[in-house]
């Protein structure tokens, strides 16, 4: 097993021997893992291997039945406020326009201020949807909806972004555009990411480390040795393809 070598001091989120089961069926088994500041980790595995439950426990939505989950050294007992979550479906609210959807986290916490408008505008520009500010979700394409969902996850300045197959329903070109956009934003703001996907190429392109899950455990870690700044062309390089092939083989094995 190849475990990443990051310094202990920068650990943001940590699982210590965490287990979780549904009606005596183990979903997560004695899992130990950690995420460092600004690190991008992807989770790969077949359906039903426990990836989504892992995300639910990591976000604080569900409690570990055994073991400890710590965020910044403190046990996680409720949903962590410093995270942004992006689902497979954009989960935008139909009756709110793009700006209102992005501001939803602040509206719910009654923390809206005059600066929020500037922040929303900044995010709209960063995500390339400035022209959609007043549009409603049903007027947007799938790619634009995903961008709004990412903007909403970023509005509170999260330390961690948790993403559950966010680009699975998009076409290949839009997906690649969004992958690069996401990488740029996370690198610029130093946001750590937990990214669940079924797409090996996507995992390799985005991640610092890929975790392979099976039967509720992380069975193998793959550090990705690619340049920090990643452009689309990297997908055609030998090193990228070798890493992808290696992970694919492990996934099938």
């Amino acid at each position: 097993m190849n475990v990443g070598t990051f310094s202990e001091s920068s650990v943001l989120l940590e699982f210590k021997e965490v287990s979780f089961s549904y009606s005596s069926q183990p979903i997560i088994s004695s899992l130990s893992w950690n995420l460092k500041k600004g690190e991008f980790q992807s989770f790969l595995g077949r359906s039903g291997c426990g990836k989504s439950t892992f995300l639910d426990i990591a976000s604080g939505l569900m409690k570990a039945q055994q073991g400890i989950v710590e965020y910044n050294g403190q046990p996680v007992l409720k949903p962590i406020s410093d995270i942004g979550f992006v689902f497979q479906c954009p989960t935008l609210l139909d009756w709110m326009n793009v700006s209102e959807n992005i501001l939803l986290p602040k509206l719910l916490n009654h923390t809206t201020s005059v600066c929020d408008r500037d922040q929303v505008n900044e995010l709209l520009v960063d995500l390339g949807i400035a022209s959609c500010e007043r549009a409603y979700p049903w007027q947007l394409s799938g790619g634009q909806q995903s961008r709004v969902a990412i903007a909403r996850a970023l509005i509170n300045g999260p330390k961690i972004l948790m993403m559950d197959e966010p680009f699975a329903a998009l076409d290949a070109i839009t997906r690649e555009e969004l992958q690069e956009l996401l990488l740029n934003i996370c690198r610029t703001h130093g946001i750590a990411v937990i990214f669940v996907t079924h797409d090996v190429q996507e995992a390799v392109f985005l991640s610092d480390r890929v975790c392979l899950m099976s039967n509720g455990q992380i069975v193998e870690y793959f550090p990705i040795n690619l340049p920090k700044i990643r452009v689309s062309e990297i997908r055609y390089e030998k090193q990228f393809n070798e890493q992808t092939a290696k992970i694919k083989l492990a996934l099938m094995g």
Partner: protein, 255 residues
Amino acid sequence: MSHKFDYFISLLLGILFLFLWEFLTHFMQISALVLPSPSSIFLTLTKGLSSGYFLPHLLQTLGEVLGGLLLGSIFGMGGGIFLGEVISFRKLVMPYVVMTQIIPKLALAPLFIVWFGFGSLPCVVMTALICFFPMLETTMTAIDNVDVQKIKLFKILGASRFQTLIKLKVACSLPYIFSGFRVSVVLSLVGAVVSEFIGASRGLGTLIIVGQGSMDTPMIFASMTLITAMGLCIYTLTTLLESYFLKNYALNRRR
């Protein structure tokens, strides 16, 4: 343009139907007691309206319909929200709610007269009872079927249970609540008129019974026309309200 054309064709069909009816009643010499011609119904209607004979009856039925609709819808929606949210309580009371709805409402009318006396109160209660169930059922089902991922999103965003209920579940359910309300609008007319048949001294339902007793079939048809017109007005008002409240909803836009 095509919408206008559709309306025009629809109107033309209606006029054609009336002409056919008028022609057949004269041609086949059908007695006015069995089937009065549209012209004789129209005459009774205009005479009754101009003399003010219909007005108190119309207002009485309108009051009962609106009162019953309002009461039934408020309780139905409130109950639906509560039972949709508190599932453990729903399991306890739902069999009894269904039982009360299975009882034929008409069978309850004599009982309501005993409890509430003659007049408009038993009619309002009956109408409310009929409007209650569609609102309860649609609201409860809609609240219960809100996208799980959206609920998860609200949890992650630290929303309270009340915030999730009002700002997500009720907001998401609004199109379905309106569809339940439209069903209630239609049923409210049935409720008010049928309850007037049994124990009222005023109202369009009472006029129908009076018309039946005095063999004044044009009066029955004139009363039915007024009920239909009233129903259409309330239904149209409801769709206008719906368009206003749901103007930003995707469901409404796709129609």
